[in-house]
């Protein structure tokens, strides 16, 4: 099961986290109290030029020096602090969430079209791959990810997400099927620009992981949403695909649907399926993802998971249930359930 929720304001009007908390917790029947998380874009305007690294330390006394040294090797730490938290009776903290505001040294990735992001990517891969008691859970500019093992309300109150204001929020209510104990395991996942929440399970995890790891990504948590975040980064940033084509590569039409398309469409879709066969995701899933300018949603081709889309003024909502949208926007203007393979792409006004 799992419940997911995303909301974007196309004019970057800010929303604090309280409505998102309510929307997510109304889907508590879709969760099991063993994982929830939130991502918000636009929450760090004072450090908008820095990459905000959210890090889980098993023990800051032991691990922080390692992360400090790694970051200083790759750039400048502008500021760092413990993420403010508020103890909750139903939440047993097993790590210390920390945040760094970091400026990567672009000259360390010569020849790259996006050197800062390459530096940040390699820092995330390096720190998360090694057993050093530190796990970077988000790493984008002006974005932050808050997650823990617990019910949505407890996780929201623990991080005081009502104190943050963002123009895009993603949220995930986890129905645990494995690994309840680690806070870094549940969705959401983030790699600099892109954040991902997923309802479902890809059956192609192994193939997708091998494919994305062949490009230098390191999948350290064993979770399919981590692979999806890396795949979207690879296809859009490194391969230069538009997000619509990237979605089509990940969840392409069936061959018999391609056979019925006009010739030019057929050629494009065949080429995508041949080029990205190993990136194709199968199994039951709905994915909602965002970067600073975009929010997207798409489902598996057999439509084995729900996805409801709502619109109201400048707000775009994507959720597992209509109820979650109405919890935040009681007078939502339109509600629809897109077909499998029909991606939802919302863009922030330029």
């Amino acid at each position: 099961m799992c419940g997911i929720f995303g909301v974007m304001d196309k004019r970057r009007q800010m929303m604090d986290g309280s409505g998102i908390r309510e929307a997510l917790s109304i889907m508590n029947e879709r969760g099991s109290g063993e994982g929830a998380g939130y991502v918000a874009y636009g929450i760090y305007p004072d450090y908008r030029d820095c990459y905000a690294l959210h890090v889980f330390f098993d023990n800051p006394g032991k691990s922080k020096a390692i992360v400090d040294a790694t970051l200083e090797q790759w750039g400048t730490i502008e500021h760092d602090e413990a993420i403010p938290t508020c103890d909750q009776p139903n939440l047993k903290a097993n790590c210390t969430p920390w945040r760094y505001f970091f400026k990567p040294d672009a000259s360390l990735a010569p020849g790259s079209a996006s050197p800062e992001k390459d530096v940040v990517t390699s820092i995330v891969m390096q720190i998360n791959a090694s057993a050093n008691g530190a796990e970077i859970v988000s790493s984008g500019k002006n974005v932050g990810l808050f997650k823990a093992s617990g019910w949505p309300e407890d996780v929201a109150d623990y991080y005081r997400i009502q104190d943050y204001e963002g123009y895009i929020w993603l949220a995930h209510n986890r129905y645990a099927t494995s690994n309840p104990e680690l806070w870094e395991r549940p969705d959401p996942f983030n790699l600099h620009d892109w954040s991902v929440v997923e309802n479902g399970k890809t059956t192609t995890y192994g193939a997708n992981r091998r494919y994305v790891e062949s490009f230098g990504y390191n999948c350290s948590t064993g979770t399919d949403s981590e692979v999806i975040a890396y795949l979207i980064d690879l296809l859009t940033r490194k391969h230069g695909l538009g997000i619509d084509l990237a979605i089509r590569a990940l969840a392409p039409p069936y061959w018999d649907e391609i056979d019925r398309m006009p010739e030019a469409e057929q050629n494009l879709n065949r080429a995508l399926r041949f080029a990205y066969g190993s990136a194709t995701m199968n199994g039951p899933f709905t994915v909602v993802a965002a970067n600073p300018d975009t929010m997207i949603g798409f489902t598996d081709r057999g439509k084995l998971r729900p996805m409801v889309v709502g619109e109201c003024g400048d707000r775009l909502y994507i959720a597992s249930e209509e109820t979650a949208i109405r919890a935040m926007e009681p007078c939502v203007e339109s509600i629809r359930r897109p077909a499998a393979g029909e991606p939802v792409i919302g863009r922030v006004a330029p």
Partner: protein, 245 residues
């Protein structure tokens, strides 16, 4: 005199809400109006008798599951699987509904004025006099009538083109009737098209009239319209799929 009970569901979890509904029925209510419903699941679950439950808001998943007798009228949309394994009675949804509508339904009627999601009528079944009926006013989505084993699934397509593909995937009983022509390519393996005979039309006409009356539609043009009937290609279309004789 009919006894009416009104319940405010705002902020109430489904367990106490359904307890209140049960209590009202035990106390002899004929009509229960539930206001401010926002996704509470299992409304009307396992209820017996002949009360009417009016749901104002968005009904949560598995509405009227195992229900046997009552009528549920939803003024709004419903989430997944309304009428799951419903036994008898009636569900009328004035909006649209999510995936797996009428899942494993074994009797009674479900009328949806708007659209339904994927896998509508999945594994509907019939036995002797028990014959479930699902009628959709708008469109259905792909895998309509998947593994269907009995009953009647009628799609009127009042709001535009029918979107379903892979219709009747795994069908081995019952019938799917769709207004207008259905492209052969939209049928799944194991399903076949038949023309609607006069006998068939006479059988579905009362269902169309009842649906039209519930939603204030003009029934006669619908009764006279052109329909496609989809049935299993054989009694055991998948005999060779998992076993070899």
């Amino acid at each position: 005199m009919a006894k009416q009970v009104t319940i405010d569901a705002k902020g109430v979890h489904y367990t106490p809400l359904n307890q209140q509904i049960r209590k009202a029925i035990e106390d002899g209510a004929d009509e229960i109006v539930v206001n401010n419903v926002l996704g509470q699941r299992f409304i009307g679950n396992g209820l017996r008798g002949n009360a009417t439950i009016r749901v104002n808001g968005v009904a949560g998943g598995d509405l009227a599951m195992f229900m046997s007798g009552p009528t549920v009228i939803v003024d709004g949309n419903a989430e997944h699987a309304p009428g799951n394994t419903m036994d008898s009675g009636k569900v009328v949804i004035h909006g649209s509904a999510g995936d797996a509508v009428a899942h494993s339904m074994r009797g009674g009627k479900i009328f949806v004025r708007g659209d339904i999601g994927y896998r509508g009528g999945i594994h509907m079944k019939q036995y002797e006099t028990q014959r479930p009926i699902l009628v959709v006013g708008g469109s259905a989505q792909t895998f309509l009538g998947e593994y269907m084993a009995g009953g009647l699934l009628l799609v009127l397509g009042l709001d535009g083109a029918m979107k379903a593909r892979e219709i009747g995937s795994g069908i081995h009983g019952g019938e799917i009737v769709i207004r207008g022509d259905v492209d052969e390519a939209c049928l799944a393996a194991g399903a076949k098209k038949l023309p609607l005979t006069d006998e068939d039309r006479a059988r579905i006409a009362p269902v169309i009239r009842e649906f039209a009356a519930d939603f204030g539609l003009d029934a006669e043009p619908l009764v006279k319209a052109n329909y496609t009937r989809i049935v299993p290609a054989s009694a055991r279309p998948f005999a060779g799929k998992y076993t070899w004789e």
